[in-house]
């Protein structure tokens, strides 16, 4: 929730960079489906969204994944993994949903997906991303997320533990698995694992807007910040602060009632001119860096890795964290890979090279499995901004008629759009 409001505030502010305040809210503009950056940020307008169900019978589950784990005092609130089950009356298929990078089990997109799949008649179990601080703290064995095989193992353990807790309460006819963004990529690895261990025997698996190669995608996101903000990472705070000032000026002139999703569109429609791509990319880049800062900080403290927190220092509950937060604004995912993830992985496997690590964190590492496994499908957009050169072709070739590619929507911008939602539901419903 907070990440969302924060993100919105930043977004709204950045739209007004360099714009004469008096002109805002005069002309109106149509929602441009064709701009991937804008789709990624704005999402789907209300009148095109699938019907959203707010009140769903849901049980929140605080899961103790590792009973023996000592969580540092500073992370006392993250000692258990939070997840949820939305349950049907009577027997129904159960679908696990894995959140995207940095997202929790109840993020906006997770709530949309829960609503869509619940209305399709499924029990829905929502699981935070292995890159979410709560997951890193409570459910990651290595406490260094980013290696798809390890993350899949962690997810599978969580699913098994959840199922042990839930199996006496609900009747399940079938197991499905899905995930969006990085969660989509992870779903494929979890599916492969399940084919070996056979706890669930998933009959259908759907990857939604997956990354093909994790490091290609995160590099794209890293560079959105570094290439578009004046001064790169050093300019982030100045960029946001200026944007906020400008936005306050504009906001004071307009007649806006409350901050909600529609407010974004109202602001957008009232803009005198379209925001520049550079501003939109900056915003997506900043949002990603906030996610990765949360993740890296959690991993650093959990491993006592001495990355941004001095090694051996015991973080107290009331310690100021500003300096760490500011430092992490400079740390790209690539830096995390080189100076944190690789050394952590080499502790177990000294022969592991950087290139092998990168290659392993790609769908291409399990191409043979994806090629043959008829139960795995993919749904994405041709203009998804986290796909690198050749990635879309790879998905088309590997999945053939199991791939559904929408022309527009950016990265998950149309995840709750009516047609997209219908296609997701259809994928699981058809025999």
């Amino acid at each position: 929730m907070i990440a969302r409001s924060f993100f919105f505030a930043l977004f709204l502010a950045s739209l007004f960079l360099g714009m004469p305040p008096a002109q805002a809210a005069e002309k109106s503009q149509r929602y441009p489906q064709s701009d991937p950056w804008l789709s990624t940020i704005l999402g789907t307008p209300l009148d095109e969204r699938a019907p959203y169900l707010q009140d769903i019978p849901t049980r929140l589950i605080d899961l103790e994944v590792f009973p023996d784990r000592q969580v540092p005092d500073a992370f006392w609130y993250n000692d258990r993994l939070r997840s949820s089950l939305a349950y049907q009356e009577g027997k129904a298929p159960l679908i696990f949903i894995i959140a995207g990078t940095g997202a929790g089990f109840n993020s906006d997109k997770m709530l949309s997906l829960r609503s869509i799949f619940y209305q399709a008649g499924f029990h829905v179990v929502s699981i935070s991303s292995p890159t979410h601080a709560n997951f890193v703290t409570a459910a990651s064995e290595s406490r260094a997320p980013g290696i798809l095989r390890d993350d899949a193992n962690d997810l599978y353990r969580v699913m098994q533990t959840l199922w042990a807790e839930l199996k006496d309460e609900i009747e399940v006819s079938d197991f499905y698995l899905t995930g969006y963004s990085l969660g989509g990529t992870q779903a494929a690895f979890v599916s492969k694992l399940d084919d070996e261990q056979k706890t669930f025997n998933f009959s259908k698996v759907l990857m939604i807007n997956p990354a093909v190669n994790l490091f290609t995608s995160v590099s794209l996101l890293d560079s959105m910040l570094e290439d578009n903000i004046p001064g790169g990472a050093a300019g982030v705070r100045r960029f946001l602060s200026r944007a906020l000032d400008k936005f306050a000026t504009v906001y004071s002139k307009g007649d806006f009632v409350k901050f909600d999703h529609e407010f974004l569109f109202n602001i957008y429609r009232g803009l005198p001119e379209a925001p520049t791509d550079a501003n939109l990319k900056s915003l997506i880049g900043i949002s990603f860096r906030i996610s990765s800062s949360n993740m890296i900080f959690a991993a650093d403290v959990m491993r006592d890795a001495g990355f941004v927190v001095p090694k051996g220092y015991v973080l107290g509950r009331n310690d100021p964290l500003d300096a760490y937060l500011k430092t992490l604004a400079y740390i790209s995912f690539a830096t995390y890979l080189d100076d944190f993830l690789l050394p952590a992985a080499q502790e177990r496997d000294p022969a592991l090279t950087r290139q092998a690590l990168i290659n392993g964190s790609s769908l291409r590492a399990i191409s043979g499995y994806l090629d043959q496994s008829q139960k795995i499908g993919v749904m994405t957009n041709a203009d998804d901004i986290i796909l690198g050169t050749g990635d879309l072709d790879y998905l088309r070739q590997t999945f053939g008629n199991r791939a559904t590619i929408f022309p527009h929507g950016g990265h998950c911008g149309n995840i709750d759009q009516r047609d997209f939602a219908a296609a997701m539901t259809r994928y699981f419903s058809q025999p």
Partner: protein, 248 residues
């Protein structure tokens, strides 16, 4: 006897303090691989910094609010929602909004904003009469939108800075300016005494119901984001939100 008791008291306070602040670690503390000074001179870039000299105390209160929420406030709100029909809840919420229009009118006037003041005053007049003591809100349907004004904003309007960030028990994020505003608004309310608390003893029920209604409307839950920087993000968001409200 007395000095001994004092000494016992003193040592138990010291022990309690040591427990609160966390005992010093004996393990040697090394260096971090990346420090802020590797990227910028500390203190050179103060953009988005928010004054928080009482941070340790604020963080303790932030935690207190979490426990207060978990064990008392939220269960109370849930029970209220369970017992009271939605329709009645809406009437009650609308009633409090109407009372708040007194504050909105008063602060709009202090800021010399004729449009905002006029709107709030008309809203109060219409909703108190046509809306039956504010139980309904016909003014909004007639296009008179709520104008949120409070004394914290009034101070901000005349250039008073935020002052240090404060986490208030139960109320949550605030700062010195807005806390002063809260006190002034409360004082003005008690002077005007629109519900005649002077002559009846409904004030306790009024404040209890007001607290429940206010908490019910706020979806925020402490620590549920799971972000290690939640406190810092909330601190920034609060300042940003107030900056927008003051500018309006």
């Amino acid at each position: 006897m007395k000095p001994i008791m004092n000494r016992a008291l003193l040592s138990s306070i010291l022990i309690a303090l040591a427990m609160l602040t966390g005992c010093a670690t004996t393990a040697p503390v090394g260096e971090a691989k990346y420090r802020l000074s590797d990227f910028e001179k500390p203190g050179t870039d103060a953009e988005l910094d928010i004054s928080d000299p009482l941070e340790p105390l604020n963080k303790s209160l932030y935690r207190f609010n979490y426990y207060f929420d978990s064990y008392f406030f939220i269960p109370l709100v849930d029970a209220y929602q369970f017992v009271i029909p939605d329709y009645a809840e809406q009437r009650i919420a609308s009633f409090f909004d109407n009372i708040a229009d007194i504050r909105n009118t008063f602060n709009g006037a202090l800021q010399l904003k004729p449009a905002s003041t006029g709107t709030s005053l008309s809203r109060f007049a219409i909703n108190s009469t046509v809306g039956v003591f504010g139980l309904w809100d016909p003014a909004s349907t007639w296009g008179l939108q709520r104008q949120d004004e409070d004394f914290g904003q009034t101070l901000g309007h005349y250039g008073v800075d935020n002052g240090p960030y404060l986490v208030l028990p139960v109320f949550g994020p605030s700062n010195l300016r807005d806390t002063s505003g809260l006190l002034v608004d409360g004082w003005v309310f008690s002077r005007i005494d629109p519900l005649n608390f002077e002559k009846n003893d409904l004030d306790t029920s009024y404040y209890a119901l007001y607290a429940i209604t206010t908490r019910k409307r706020e979806p925020f839950r402490y620590y549920k984001s799971g972000s290690p920087f939640e406190y810092e993000f909330i601190r920034l968001l609060y300042a940003a939100k107030r900056q927008l409200q003051v500018a309006k």
